[in-house]
Symmetry: C2
Subunit: 421 residues, 2 copies
Amino acid sequence: MSSEKEPHVVIVGGGFGGLWAARALARSRVRVSLVDRVNHHLFQPLLYQVATAGLSMPDIAAPLRHILRRQPNATVLLAEVVDIDRGARRVCCADGSALDYDYLIVASGARHAYFGHDEWAAYAPGLKTLDDALLIRRRVLTAFERAEAEADPVKRAAWLNFVVIGGGPTGVELAGTLAEIAHHTLRREFRRVDPAAARVLLVEAGPRVLASLPEGLSAKAATQLRRLGVEVHAGRAVTAVDADGIALGEDRIAARTVLWAAGVAASPLGRCLGAPLDRAGRVIVEDDLSLPGDPNVFVVGDLASRQQDGKPVPGVAPAAKQMGTHAAKMIKARLAGSAATPFRYADVGSLATIGRMAAVADLGRIRLSGVLAWWFWLLVHILFLIGFRSRLIVLINWSWSYWTYQRHARIIVGREHKDDA
Amino acid sequence: MSSEKEPHVVIVGGGFGGLWAARALARSRVRVSLVDRVNHHLFQPLLYQVATAGLSMPDIAAPLRHILRRQPNATVLLAEVVDIDRGARRVCCADGSALDYDYLIVASGARHAYFGHDEWAAYAPGLKTLDDALLIRRRVLTAFERAEAEADPVKRAAWLNFVVIGGGPTGVELAGTLAEIAHHTLRREFRRVDPAAARVLLVEAGPRVLASLPEGLSAKAATQLRRLGVEVHAGRAVTAVDADGIALGEDRIAARTVLWAAGVAASPLGRCLGAPLDRAGRVIVEDDLSLPGDPNVFVVGDLASRQQDGKPVPGVAPAAKQMGTHAAKMIKARLAGSAATPFRYADVGSLATIGRMAAVADLGRIRLSGVLAWWFWLLVHILFLIGFRSRLIVLINWSWSYWTYQRHARIIVGREHKDDA
């Protein structure tokens, strides 16, 4: 147990950045308080699998306090941080409680954003949390049910049209998996409609999908998507989203299920720090990830804006983990009287899965696509899942899904509330 | 595929009664429509495990249309039946759609009921659906979190007091499992509170818990509950439930988490049938389970009121399955011109689990309690789970939980809405 006199490190956010920072401080003579508004760490790279009923929630989430149970200097608090008072060195929570810090690591990440079209949120849910995933799962599975019950062929077609907006990794994963569900998983289960008649459209405003990858892999991803049955519409900007579907300029597409994967905005906590932000609302940090002019405050993960070799450090899990670990190292250095060192992102390559047996990987000199990339993706993701139990269960679930095309978590819970549209 | 000319059997409800009826009609020249307001069949005997984070939703639920995918004469419809017009032989749904039937099997079960105290529902959620289970899970896990954040010792104690109202099987299971969570699962995970300081109270108005079992087993169950750390209060009626706790006559117990397992009432659809109901709102059926005066309509499962050898047929899964199968047999007999036969419940015994290594079983001549009963319970429940996949996964989850005391599904989703209190 730690003493009240030891420096207090408050970490806001239990994602990859915050959790890795907390773990890196395990052997330090500090008190660590990890604050998150949910009780679990989420393995976000597999969240789309929960949304598409391939995995269930506990497969990709574990309680933060369970993960940190053997780290006596760490306290986990379930609270929503709403303000940061750097003058008083205090973090304020929605329930009125407050935490005084000596060091602060802000790792509150990003939410999906509609770029000035917040009214689209009701019709096109995004995917960042488990609640989002359950909502998307409900919308997708209910759409097939509504199609089965619908007598009017025009209305039925609208229930069988699925639009995914945004051709980044999440959009590609969602579109590829939706196509698999329609063409394989639901086969033979409906009597009036043929789920294989469903259309899955992936709309990307930019010229190509997976724009962060080299052009060759991007093209291969598009080919694999089309082979899975996805209609890829690149270079088309969405101009309207409503209850009936979307508009691409003059063209209207009738679709009762629209998913948003077009972009994220940094957590609003960035604005509380009084530091310069970049265009996406991320905090521009110093070389050592500290706040300009305040060496006791660090920003890591998706909320941090950092350039390296003329390119931004990407908003991916490995970068967040490395940043979290670095911020913890900087605090230890300060306590030991050592000098700060600059953060350097060690690029481990990019991986994007597309669907069954389809993926692309950019590992620097090696580029993979298709089946081989998919196996590599599977291996990496199972290895990085936290906790042996999850790995085993996920492996069994995936093997099962692979051989049977089944998705075991096809359970609709909850009802649509008014704010869900 | 079945022809439009074949008789149309509409089954309302995809629980044990309805699903077993549908399956029993697989080889008959009828069209079967199974209507349910949720998309899944639920293995209700294990629902308390989802509520207490031991299992996740897909472990105990499977999509109805997936279960029936290889039965071409069966159509599954997701709809909420709100009325039955026996004159027109028509079932009406909440979305305005309607189904005309030649034969009708009503298997819409029961909901938990507050016996004239509906205002208690907000403070003491009951457990009948997956949504109920997720709500209870959220309340229980959040209570420990709130205790950890609470500085005032009196308020903290109220967060650590858990009251279960009702000493039937569900109440006993919930209380036993809550005690295990407090004393084992959460050990070492909190820094400010000791979860083992939590009190779990089981309140039963009648003189003993598990009143449907012989007195000896009832007493053994109470002993096992106390050994697990549950305070058993039998012969005490709850007189008030509110946000601060409960009242037992003059005594008040401060508790922020109260769960309701004190009773069920039959589905309101029973009232639409225009047939005599018993005191619990269940439909009094003929010997062959048909409605008095209407041989084309059958009522099965928890909604049916049936006496046998001077005792009511119990509201348990085996009885519902047997009734569903019998109703299907009666329809086949009618189509073949054979005579109706009376339903006879084949009693397979009673089993109730209490907690880790604690259960009681009444198998007629053989009565078991303790470890042996628990292993028997485990075996039976895994064998009866639908679908090989679930059995395997549940077995792995349980083995894991057993050795580690961990409950893998400790994920809080959703937020409290106003109507949750």
